[in-house]
Protein backbone atom coordinates (compact mmCIF):
# COMPACT_ATOMS: atom_id res chain seq x y z
CA UNK A 1 0.00 0.00 0.00
CA UNK A 2 1.43 3.36 -0.93
CA UNK A 3 -0.65 6.00 0.76
CA UNK A 4 0.30 9.53 -0.28
CA UNK A 5 3.76 8.39 -1.26
CA UNK A 6 4.51 6.99 2.16
CA UNK A 7 6.27 3.71 1.63
CA UNK A 8 5.26 1.43 4.42
CA UNK A 9 7.70 -1.29 3.50
CA UNK A 10 10.57 1.18 3.63
CA UNK A 11 9.30 2.51 6.92
CA UNK A 12 9.23 -0.93 8.43
CA UNK A 13 12.78 -1.55 7.24
CA UNK A 14 14.15 1.63 8.73
CA UNK A 15 12.11 1.37 11.91
CA UNK A 16 14.80 -0.36 14.01
CA UNK A 17 17.29 2.31 13.03
CA UNK A 18 14.87 5.08 13.91
CA UNK A 19 13.97 3.46 17.20
CA UNK A 20 17.62 3.36 18.17
CA UNK A 21 17.60 7.07 17.60
CA UNK A 22 14.44 7.43 19.67
CA UNK A 23 16.15 5.65 22.55
CA UNK A 24 18.98 8.17 22.40
CA UNK A 25 16.46 11.02 22.28
CA UNK A 26 14.67 9.76 25.38
CA UNK A 27 17.96 9.19 27.16
CA UNK A 28 19.17 12.69 26.35
CA UNK A 29 15.92 14.25 27.47
CA UNK A 30 15.70 12.29 30.69
CA UNK A 31 19.20 13.16 31.81
CA UNK A 32 18.80 16.78 30.80
CA UNK A 33 15.53 17.20 32.62
CA UNK A 34 16.96 15.56 35.72
CA UNK A 35 19.98 17.82 35.79
CA UNK A 36 17.87 20.77 34.70
CA UNK A 37 15.52 20.19 37.63
CA UNK A 38 18.43 20.36 40.05
CA UNK A 39 19.67 23.53 38.41
CA UNK A 40 16.15 24.94 38.24
CA UNK A 41 15.45 24.24 41.90
CA UNK A 42 18.45 26.20 43.09
CA UNK A 43 18.11 28.92 40.52
CA UNK A 44 14.39 29.25 41.21
CA UNK A 45 14.96 29.70 44.91
CA UNK A 46 17.86 32.05 44.23
CA UNK A 47 15.61 34.15 42.01
CA UNK A 48 13.34 35.00 44.92
CA UNK A 49 16.10 35.39 47.45
CA UNK A 50 16.59 38.70 49.18
CA UNK A 51 20.34 38.50 48.75
CA UNK A 52 21.41 40.20 45.56
CA UNK A 53 24.33 37.84 45.27
CA UNK A 54 21.87 35.07 44.54
CA UNK A 55 19.03 36.83 42.81
CA UNK A 56 21.07 38.81 40.29
CA UNK A 57 23.20 36.03 38.76
CA UNK A 58 20.21 33.73 38.55
CA UNK A 59 18.14 36.44 36.88
CA UNK A 60 20.92 37.02 34.35
CA UNK A 61 21.20 33.31 33.68
CA UNK A 62 17.48 32.96 33.03
CA UNK A 63 17.42 36.07 30.81
CA UNK A 64 20.31 34.81 28.71
CA UNK A 65 18.94 31.33 28.19
CA UNK A 66 15.42 32.46 27.47
CA UNK A 67 16.60 35.22 25.16
CA UNK A 68 18.81 33.10 22.91
CA UNK A 69 17.83 30.23 20.64
CA UNK A 70 18.52 26.73 21.90
CA UNK A 71 20.26 25.96 18.64
CA UNK A 72 22.74 28.74 19.30
CA UNK A 73 23.29 27.48 22.83
CA UNK A 74 24.00 23.96 21.62
CA UNK A 75 26.52 25.20 19.10
CA UNK A 76 28.20 27.44 21.63
CA UNK A 77 28.66 24.52 24.02
CA UNK A 78 30.05 22.19 21.37
CA UNK A 79 31.96 24.50 19.05
CA UNK A 80 32.55 27.56 21.18
CA UNK A 81 33.66 26.28 24.57
CA UNK A 82 36.93 24.79 23.30
CA UNK A 83 38.14 28.36 23.09
CA UNK A 84 37.88 28.43 26.89
CA UNK A 85 39.67 25.14 27.19
CA UNK A 86 36.51 23.11 27.73
CA UNK A 87 36.42 20.46 25.04
CA UNK A 88 33.44 18.19 25.33
CA UNK A 89 32.32 15.35 23.15
CA UNK A 90 28.99 15.39 21.42
CA UNK A 91 26.85 13.63 23.97
CA UNK A 92 28.22 15.60 26.88
CA UNK A 93 27.76 18.81 24.94
CA UNK A 94 24.23 17.88 24.04
CA UNK A 95 23.25 17.04 27.58
CA UNK A 96 25.02 20.07 28.98
CA UNK A 97 23.32 22.45 26.57
CA UNK A 98 19.91 20.88 27.07
CA UNK A 99 20.32 20.82 30.86
CA UNK A 100 21.35 24.44 31.07
CA UNK A 101 18.49 25.37 28.79
CA UNK A 102 15.83 23.47 30.63
CA UNK A 103 17.31 24.64 33.93
CA UNK A 104 16.35 28.20 33.08
CA UNK A 105 12.76 27.34 32.20
CA UNK A 106 12.46 25.06 35.20
CA UNK A 107 13.78 27.85 37.41
CA UNK A 108 10.83 29.92 36.28
CA UNK A 109 8.52 26.99 36.98
CA UNK A 110 9.84 26.70 40.53
CA UNK A 111 9.69 30.44 41.03
CA UNK A 112 6.09 30.64 39.88
CA UNK A 113 5.14 27.59 41.90
CA UNK A 114 6.74 28.92 45.05
CA UNK A 115 5.30 32.38 44.63
CA UNK A 116 1.83 30.94 44.17
CA UNK A 117 1.87 29.82 47.79
CA UNK A 118 0.23 32.37 50.07
CA UNK A 119 2.54 34.55 52.07
CA UNK A 120 0.77 33.49 55.24
CA UNK A 121 2.22 30.00 54.95
CA UNK A 122 5.75 31.35 55.13
CA UNK A 123 4.81 33.72 57.95
CA UNK A 124 3.25 30.93 59.98
CA UNK A 125 6.23 28.70 59.40
CA UNK A 126 8.85 31.18 60.42
CA UNK A 127 6.91 32.40 63.41
CA UNK A 128 7.05 28.81 64.62
CA UNK A 129 10.82 29.11 64.51
CA UNK A 130 11.52 27.16 61.29
CA UNK A 131 14.36 28.56 59.24
CA UNK A 132 14.32 29.35 55.53
CA UNK A 133 15.44 25.98 54.30
CA UNK A 134 13.08 24.11 56.62
CA UNK A 135 10.22 26.35 55.52
CA UNK A 136 11.02 25.60 51.89
CA UNK A 137 11.41 21.92 52.48
CA UNK A 138 8.46 21.12 54.73
CA UNK A 139 5.93 23.84 54.01
CA UNK A 140 6.40 25.61 50.68
CA UNK A 141 7.84 23.07 48.28
CA UNK A 142 5.41 20.25 49.13
CA UNK A 143 2.55 22.60 48.35
CA UNK A 144 4.23 24.09 45.33
CA UNK A 145 4.72 20.60 43.92
CA UNK A 146 1.09 20.56 42.93
CA UNK A 147 1.75 23.33 40.45
CA UNK A 148 5.30 22.41 39.68
CA UNK A 149 4.95 18.75 38.76
CA UNK A 150 2.57 19.14 35.81
CA UNK A 151 4.66 22.04 34.57
CA UNK A 152 7.75 19.84 34.81
CA UNK A 153 5.97 17.17 32.82
CA UNK A 154 5.23 19.66 30.08
CA UNK A 155 8.84 20.83 30.14
CA UNK A 156 9.94 17.25 29.60
CA UNK A 157 7.71 16.97 26.56
CA UNK A 158 8.93 20.29 25.21
CA UNK A 159 12.56 19.32 25.72
CA UNK A 160 11.96 16.00 24.01
CA UNK A 161 10.96 17.84 20.89
CA UNK A 162 13.69 20.46 21.25
CA UNK A 163 16.29 17.73 21.60
CA UNK A 164 15.98 17.24 17.86
CA UNK A 165 18.19 20.31 17.57
CA UNK A 166 21.23 18.43 18.83
CA UNK A 167 21.22 16.71 15.46
CA UNK A 168 23.20 19.75 14.39
CA UNK A 169 26.23 18.47 16.24
CA UNK A 170 25.76 15.03 14.73
CA UNK A 171 24.34 13.25 17.74
CA UNK A 172 22.58 10.17 16.42
CA UNK A 173 19.22 10.91 17.91
CA UNK A 174 15.88 10.32 16.23
CA UNK A 175 15.91 13.15 13.71
CA UNK A 176 19.51 12.61 12.73
CA UNK A 177 18.80 8.95 12.01
CA UNK A 178 15.99 10.04 9.74
CA UNK A 179 18.36 12.37 7.93
CA UNK A 180 20.90 9.61 7.49
CA UNK A 181 18.19 7.39 6.05
CA UNK A 182 17.21 9.82 3.37
CA UNK A 183 20.82 10.49 2.56
CA UNK A 184 20.91 6.85 1.56
CA UNK A 185 17.51 6.42 -0.05
CA UNK A 186 16.75 9.82 -1.54
CA UNK A 187 13.24 9.57 -0.26
CA UNK A 188 12.83 12.11 2.50
CA UNK A 189 9.07 11.94 2.88
CA UNK A 190 8.91 8.46 4.35
CA UNK A 191 11.70 8.75 6.90
CA UNK A 192 10.73 12.26 8.00
CA UNK A 193 7.09 11.39 8.38
CA UNK A 194 8.18 8.29 10.23
CA UNK A 195 10.31 10.39 12.56
CA UNK A 196 7.36 12.68 13.23
CA UNK A 197 5.13 9.69 13.94
CA UNK A 198 7.60 8.31 16.43
CA UNK A 199 7.81 11.67 18.21
CA UNK A 200 4.01 11.65 18.40
CA UNK A 201 4.00 8.18 19.85
CA UNK A 202 6.15 9.45 22.69
CA UNK A 203 4.64 12.86 23.30
CA UNK A 204 0.96 11.96 23.14
CA UNK A 205 0.99 9.41 25.97
CA UNK A 206 3.17 11.73 28.02
CA UNK A 207 0.86 14.70 27.69
CA UNK A 208 -2.14 12.52 28.48
CA UNK A 209 -0.32 11.42 31.62
CA UNK A 210 0.34 15.01 32.62
CA UNK A 211 -3.28 15.95 32.05
CA UNK A 212 -4.39 12.99 34.12
CA UNK A 213 -2.19 14.03 37.02
CA UNK A 214 -3.47 17.59 36.81
CA UNK A 215 -7.08 16.43 36.88
CA UNK A 216 -6.53 14.16 39.83
CA UNK A 217 -5.02 16.94 41.87
CA UNK A 218 -7.80 19.33 40.95
CA UNK A 219 -10.33 16.94 42.42
CA UNK A 220 -8.50 17.02 45.70
CA UNK A 221 -8.91 20.81 45.89
Amino acid sequence: MVGLGFQIDLFVRILPELLRGAAITIQLTAFSVAIGTLIGLFMGIARISHYKIFSVPSALYVEFIRGTPLLVQIMIVYYGLPALGLNLDQYTSGILALSINSGAYIAEIFKAGIKSIKKGQTEASISLGLNYIQTMRYVILPQATRNILPALGNEFIALLKDSSLVSIIAISELLRRGMIVYSRTYDAWTPLLGVALIYLCITIPLSRAVQYIEKRWEILD
Binding site: Y79, G85, D89, Y91, K119, A170
Partner: protein, 324 residues
Protein backbone atom coordinates in the same frame (compact mmCIF):
# COMPACT_ATOMS: atom_id res chain seq x y z
CA UNK B 1 9.46 39.80 55.75
CA UNK B 2 12.69 38.62 57.15
CA UNK B 3 14.54 35.43 56.32
CA UNK B 4 17.90 34.16 57.32
CA UNK B 5 19.48 31.84 54.81
CA UNK B 6 20.87 28.96 56.76
CA UNK B 7 23.40 26.88 54.89
CA UNK B 8 23.90 24.37 57.64
CA UNK B 9 23.35 21.19 55.66
CA UNK B 10 26.59 21.02 53.72
CA UNK B 11 26.90 17.28 53.94
CA UNK B 12 23.57 17.01 52.15
CA UNK B 13 24.49 19.45 49.43
CA UNK B 14 27.93 18.01 48.89
CA UNK B 15 26.41 14.56 48.52
CA UNK B 16 24.03 16.00 45.96
CA UNK B 17 26.86 17.57 44.03
CA UNK B 18 29.04 14.51 44.12
CA UNK B 19 26.16 12.41 42.79
CA UNK B 20 25.50 14.97 40.06
CA UNK B 21 29.12 14.93 38.93
CA UNK B 22 29.24 11.16 39.20
CA UNK B 23 26.26 10.90 36.89
CA UNK B 24 27.83 13.11 34.27
CA UNK B 25 30.92 10.96 34.52
CA UNK B 26 29.41 7.62 34.02
CA UNK B 27 26.32 7.98 31.89
CA UNK B 28 27.62 5.96 28.96
CA UNK B 29 31.03 5.03 27.69
CA UNK B 30 30.89 7.95 25.30
CA UNK B 31 31.32 10.33 28.20
CA UNK B 32 34.79 9.24 29.14
CA UNK B 33 37.00 11.84 27.66
CA UNK B 34 39.37 14.57 28.77
CA UNK B 35 36.67 16.02 30.98
CA UNK B 36 37.14 13.04 33.26
CA UNK B 37 40.26 14.35 34.94
CA UNK B 38 38.94 17.83 35.31
CA UNK B 39 35.77 16.57 36.88
CA UNK B 40 37.79 14.50 39.35
CA UNK B 41 39.81 17.50 40.42
CA UNK B 42 36.73 19.67 40.73
CA UNK B 43 34.93 16.98 42.70
CA UNK B 44 37.69 16.58 45.24
CA UNK B 45 38.17 20.28 45.69
CA UNK B 46 34.47 20.87 46.09
CA UNK B 47 34.06 18.18 48.74
CA UNK B 48 37.04 19.49 50.68
CA UNK B 49 35.78 23.03 50.43
CA UNK B 50 32.29 22.15 51.53
CA UNK B 51 33.51 20.10 54.48
CA UNK B 52 35.76 22.94 55.54
CA UNK B 53 32.99 25.47 55.37
CA UNK B 54 30.58 23.18 57.18
CA UNK B 55 32.78 22.63 60.16
CA UNK B 56 34.05 26.15 60.46
CA UNK B 57 30.77 27.96 60.26
CA UNK B 58 28.34 25.73 62.05
CA UNK B 59 27.99 28.03 65.02
CA UNK B 60 27.18 31.18 63.15
CA UNK B 61 23.62 31.85 62.29
CA UNK B 62 23.33 35.59 62.12
CA UNK B 63 23.24 37.80 59.06
CA UNK B 64 26.64 39.45 59.36
CA UNK B 65 28.46 36.18 59.52
CA UNK B 66 26.27 34.77 56.79
CA UNK B 67 27.54 37.39 54.42
CA UNK B 68 31.07 36.36 55.32
CA UNK B 69 30.15 32.78 54.64
CA UNK B 70 28.73 33.68 51.27
CA UNK B 71 31.98 35.45 50.50
CA UNK B 72 33.96 32.36 51.49
CA UNK B 73 31.86 30.13 49.32
CA UNK B 74 32.20 32.44 46.34
CA UNK B 75 35.98 32.51 46.68
CA UNK B 76 36.18 28.75 46.91
CA UNK B 77 33.94 28.30 43.88
CA UNK B 78 35.99 30.81 41.90
CA UNK B 79 39.16 28.96 42.83
CA UNK B 80 37.68 25.69 41.64
CA UNK B 81 36.56 27.29 38.41
CA UNK B 82 40.05 28.69 37.92
CA UNK B 83 41.68 25.31 38.46
CA UNK B 84 39.30 23.60 36.07
CA UNK B 85 39.82 26.25 33.42
CA UNK B 86 43.58 26.27 33.88
CA UNK B 87 43.86 22.54 33.61
CA UNK B 88 41.83 22.87 30.45
CA UNK B 89 44.25 25.39 29.00
CA UNK B 90 47.18 23.09 29.37
CA UNK B 91 45.26 19.98 28.35
CA UNK B 92 43.90 20.46 24.86
CA UNK B 93 46.38 22.17 22.59
CA UNK B 94 49.20 19.75 23.21
CA UNK B 95 50.07 16.79 21.14
CA UNK B 96 48.20 14.44 23.42
CA UNK B 97 45.60 12.23 21.86
CA UNK B 98 42.00 13.27 22.39
CA UNK B 99 41.52 9.97 24.13
CA UNK B 100 44.30 7.73 25.34
CA UNK B 101 44.60 4.54 23.35
CA UNK B 102 42.34 5.73 20.55
CA UNK B 103 42.86 7.45 17.25
CA UNK B 104 39.85 9.76 17.15
CA UNK B 105 38.89 10.40 13.54
CA UNK B 106 36.48 13.12 12.48
CA UNK B 107 34.43 12.54 9.37
CA UNK B 108 31.26 13.75 7.69
CA UNK B 109 29.43 10.49 7.34
CA UNK B 110 27.03 11.12 4.48
CA UNK B 111 29.52 10.63 1.68
CA UNK B 112 29.54 7.28 -0.06
CA UNK B 113 31.75 5.42 -0.76
CA UNK B 114 34.06 7.08 1.70
CA UNK B 115 31.94 7.31 4.82
CA UNK B 116 28.32 6.51 5.54
CA UNK B 117 26.38 5.41 8.57
CA UNK B 118 24.77 2.04 8.20
CA UNK B 119 21.32 1.25 9.56
CA UNK B 120 22.83 -0.30 12.66
CA UNK B 121 24.56 2.98 13.41
CA UNK B 122 28.10 1.93 12.48
CA UNK B 123 30.45 3.86 10.21
CA UNK B 124 31.26 2.27 6.84
CA UNK B 125 33.32 3.26 3.83
CA UNK B 126 36.75 3.70 2.29
CA UNK B 127 37.93 6.35 4.76
CA UNK B 128 36.57 4.25 7.58
CA UNK B 129 38.45 1.14 6.51
CA UNK B 130 41.61 3.10 5.82
CA UNK B 131 41.27 4.86 9.14
CA UNK B 132 40.95 1.58 10.96
CA UNK B 133 44.02 0.25 9.20
CA UNK B 134 46.02 3.35 10.04
CA UNK B 135 44.99 3.21 13.68
CA UNK B 136 46.07 -0.42 13.85
CA UNK B 137 49.46 0.48 12.42
CA UNK B 138 49.84 3.11 15.12
CA UNK B 139 48.87 0.66 17.80
CA UNK B 140 45.65 2.48 18.56
CA UNK B 141 41.97 1.68 18.40
CA UNK B 142 39.94 3.68 15.90
CA UNK B 143 37.09 5.89 17.04
CA UNK B 144 34.95 7.83 14.60
CA UNK B 145 33.14 11.06 15.27
CA UNK B 146 30.43 12.28 12.92
CA UNK B 147 30.60 15.99 12.22
CA UNK B 148 29.63 18.73 9.81
CA UNK B 149 31.97 19.21 6.90
CA UNK B 150 31.89 23.00 7.08
CA UNK B 151 33.31 23.04 10.57
CA UNK B 152 35.55 20.02 10.34
CA UNK B 153 38.81 21.94 10.25
CA UNK B 154 37.75 24.21 13.11
CA UNK B 155 36.77 21.19 15.14
CA UNK B 156 40.05 19.46 14.32
CA UNK B 157 42.01 22.47 15.48
CA UNK B 158 40.00 22.90 18.63
CA UNK B 159 40.79 19.34 19.57
CA UNK B 160 37.59 17.46 18.96
CA UNK B 161 39.51 14.74 17.10
CA UNK B 162 43.10 13.77 16.35
CA UNK B 163 42.73 13.61 12.56
CA UNK B 164 40.09 14.27 9.95
CA UNK B 165 39.51 11.76 7.19
CA UNK B 166 36.60 12.93 5.13
CA UNK B 167 37.61 12.73 1.50
CA UNK B 168 39.31 16.06 2.05
CA UNK B 169 41.07 17.57 -0.92
CA UNK B 170 44.53 18.96 -0.24
CA UNK B 171 44.36 22.66 -1.11
CA UNK B 172 46.71 25.55 -0.47
CA UNK B 173 44.06 27.40 1.41
CA UNK B 174 43.42 24.53 3.77
CA UNK B 175 47.13 24.00 4.23
CA UNK B 176 47.28 27.41 5.82
CA UNK B 177 45.37 26.10 8.81
CA UNK B 178 46.09 22.36 8.90
CA UNK B 179 48.68 19.91 7.77
CA UNK B 180 47.87 17.11 5.35
CA UNK B 181 49.42 13.71 5.14
CA UNK B 182 50.78 12.38 1.87
CA UNK B 183 47.96 12.05 -0.65
CA UNK B 184 46.02 8.85 -0.32
CA UNK B 185 43.50 9.14 -3.15
CA UNK B 186 43.32 10.68 -6.60
CA UNK B 187 40.00 12.29 -7.35
CA UNK B 188 38.32 15.07 -9.23
CA UNK B 189 35.03 16.90 -9.58
CA UNK B 190 32.22 16.06 -11.92
CA UNK B 191 28.70 17.22 -12.52
CA UNK B 192 25.52 15.29 -11.83
CA UNK B 193 22.21 16.27 -13.39
CA UNK B 194 18.65 14.97 -13.48
CA UNK B 195 18.20 12.06 -15.82
CA UNK B 196 16.26 14.07 -18.32
CA UNK B 197 18.47 17.09 -18.27
CA UNK B 198 20.08 18.34 -21.45
CA UNK B 199 23.03 19.91 -19.71
CA UNK B 200 26.29 18.32 -20.65
CA UNK B 201 29.08 20.65 -19.54
CA UNK B 202 29.60 23.57 -17.24
CA UNK B 203 29.05 25.84 -20.18
CA UNK B 204 25.41 24.84 -20.21
CA UNK B 205 24.94 26.23 -16.73
CA UNK B 206 23.89 29.76 -17.64
CA UNK B 207 21.00 30.74 -15.47
CA UNK B 208 21.07 27.42 -13.63
CA UNK B 209 20.78 26.69 -9.95
CA UNK B 210 23.71 24.64 -8.74
CA UNK B 211 23.82 22.51 -5.62
CA UNK B 212 27.09 21.93 -3.76
CA UNK B 213 28.21 20.81 -0.34
CA UNK B 214 29.27 23.71 1.87
CA UNK B 215 33.01 24.06 2.21
CA UNK B 216 34.00 21.47 -0.38
CA UNK B 217 36.08 21.96 -3.51
CA UNK B 218 32.79 21.61 -5.40
CA UNK B 219 31.60 24.71 -3.58
CA UNK B 220 34.78 26.57 -4.45
CA UNK B 221 34.64 25.50 -8.11
CA UNK B 222 30.98 26.40 -8.54
CA UNK B 223 31.48 29.76 -6.86
CA UNK B 224 33.85 30.77 -9.65
CA UNK B 225 31.42 29.97 -12.45
CA UNK B 226 29.96 32.96 -14.16
CA UNK B 227 26.37 33.43 -15.14
CA UNK B 228 24.88 30.87 -12.84
CA UNK B 229 21.64 31.96 -11.30
CA UNK B 230 22.24 30.74 -7.75
CA UNK B 231 24.45 28.43 -5.75
CA UNK B 232 22.74 26.46 -3.01
CA UNK B 233 25.12 25.21 -0.34
CA UNK B 234 24.05 22.16 1.59
CA UNK B 235 25.41 20.68 4.81
CA UNK B 236 25.42 17.23 3.24
CA UNK B 237 25.83 16.09 -0.36
CA UNK B 238 22.76 13.82 -0.38
CA UNK B 239 20.61 16.85 0.51
CA UNK B 240 21.72 18.50 -2.72
CA UNK B 241 20.78 15.42 -4.69
CA UNK B 242 17.45 15.24 -2.97
CA UNK B 243 16.69 18.80 -3.97
CA UNK B 244 17.77 18.05 -7.48
CA UNK B 245 15.37 15.15 -7.55
CA UNK B 246 12.65 17.55 -6.44
CA UNK B 247 13.51 19.96 -9.18
CA UNK B 248 14.90 22.71 -6.98
CA UNK B 249 18.42 22.39 -8.31
CA UNK B 250 19.60 21.93 -11.90
CA UNK B 251 23.00 20.38 -11.29
CA UNK B 252 25.23 19.17 -8.48
CA UNK B 253 28.97 19.65 -8.59
CA UNK B 254 30.84 17.24 -6.38
CA UNK B 255 33.58 14.64 -6.30
CA UNK B 256 33.17 12.24 -9.22
CA UNK B 257 33.97 9.18 -7.12
CA UNK B 258 31.05 10.16 -4.86
CA UNK B 259 28.60 11.18 -7.57
CA UNK B 260 28.89 7.76 -9.17
CA UNK B 261 27.62 5.63 -6.26
CA UNK B 262 24.91 8.16 -5.46
CA UNK B 263 23.67 8.10 -9.00
CA UNK B 264 23.94 4.33 -9.04
CA UNK B 265 21.63 4.07 -6.06
CA UNK B 266 18.94 5.99 -7.92
CA UNK B 267 19.77 5.59 -11.61
CA UNK B 268 16.33 6.57 -12.85
CA UNK B 269 16.69 10.02 -11.33
CA UNK B 270 20.24 11.13 -12.01
CA UNK B 271 23.17 10.81 -14.36
CA UNK B 272 26.80 11.91 -14.24
CA UNK B 273 28.10 14.15 -17.00
CA UNK B 274 31.26 16.10 -17.58
CA UNK B 275 33.59 14.05 -15.53
CA UNK B 276 36.76 15.25 -14.10
CA UNK B 277 36.42 18.97 -14.14
CA UNK B 278 39.42 19.07 -11.82
CA UNK B 279 42.24 16.88 -10.59
CA UNK B 280 42.48 16.59 -6.82
CA UNK B 281 44.09 14.51 -4.12
CA UNK B 282 42.77 13.61 -0.71
CA UNK B 283 44.87 13.74 2.43
CA UNK B 284 44.43 13.05 6.09
CA UNK B 285 44.11 16.39 7.90
CA UNK B 286 46.10 16.81 11.11
CA UNK B 287 46.51 19.78 13.42
CA UNK B 288 49.63 21.80 12.78
CA UNK B 289 50.64 21.28 16.38
CA UNK B 290 50.77 17.54 15.94
CA UNK B 291 53.77 17.10 13.74
CA UNK B 292 54.59 13.91 15.57
CA UNK B 293 51.32 12.34 14.49
CA UNK B 294 51.80 13.59 10.92
CA UNK B 295 55.03 11.69 10.62
CA UNK B 296 53.49 8.56 12.07
CA UNK B 297 50.48 8.69 9.73
CA UNK B 298 52.68 9.14 6.69
CA UNK B 299 54.79 6.20 7.71
CA UNK B 300 51.70 4.07 8.27
CA UNK B 301 50.19 5.12 4.92
CA UNK B 302 53.35 4.14 3.14
CA UNK B 303 53.32 0.76 4.80
CA UNK B 304 49.68 0.10 3.92
CA UNK B 305 50.34 0.94 0.30
CA UNK B 306 53.32 -1.34 0.20
CA UNK B 307 51.78 -4.35 1.86
CA UNK B 308 48.63 -4.46 -0.24
CA UNK B 309 46.14 -3.38 2.44
CA UNK B 310 45.45 -0.18 0.58
CA UNK B 311 44.65 -2.03 -2.64
CA UNK B 312 42.38 -4.39 -0.74
CA UNK B 313 40.43 -1.51 0.70
CA UNK B 314 40.26 0.22 -2.68
CA UNK B 315 38.88 -2.90 -4.23
CA UNK B 316 36.27 -3.44 -1.61
CA UNK B 317 34.98 0.10 -1.28
CA UNK B 318 35.61 1.83 -4.57
CA UNK B 319 35.50 -0.85 -7.22
CA UNK B 320 32.93 -3.07 -5.62
CA UNK B 321 30.97 -0.51 -3.66
CA UNK B 322 27.71 -1.68 -2.22
CA UNK B 323 26.02 -0.13 0.72
CA UNK B 324 23.95 -3.13 1.68
Amino acid sequence: MYYTFNMGHYSDSSCFFAIFLFCINNLTYEFRNIMYHKIQIAKHLLVIAITFLHTSTRKYETEVLEMKRIGQISIVLLLILAVVAASGCTGTKSKKLVEEGYLTIGTEAQYPPFEIIKPDGSFYGFDIALGEALAKELGLKPKFVDTDFASIIASLNSGKFDVAMSAMTITEDRQKTVNFSDPYFDAGLSMAVPINSNKQTVNDLNGAIIGVQLGTTGDIYASELKNVKEIKRYAHTPDAFLDMKNGKVDAVINDDVVNKPIVASDPTSFKVVSSLLTVEQYGVAISKENEDLLLKINAALKKLKENGTYDQIYDQYIVNWSDE
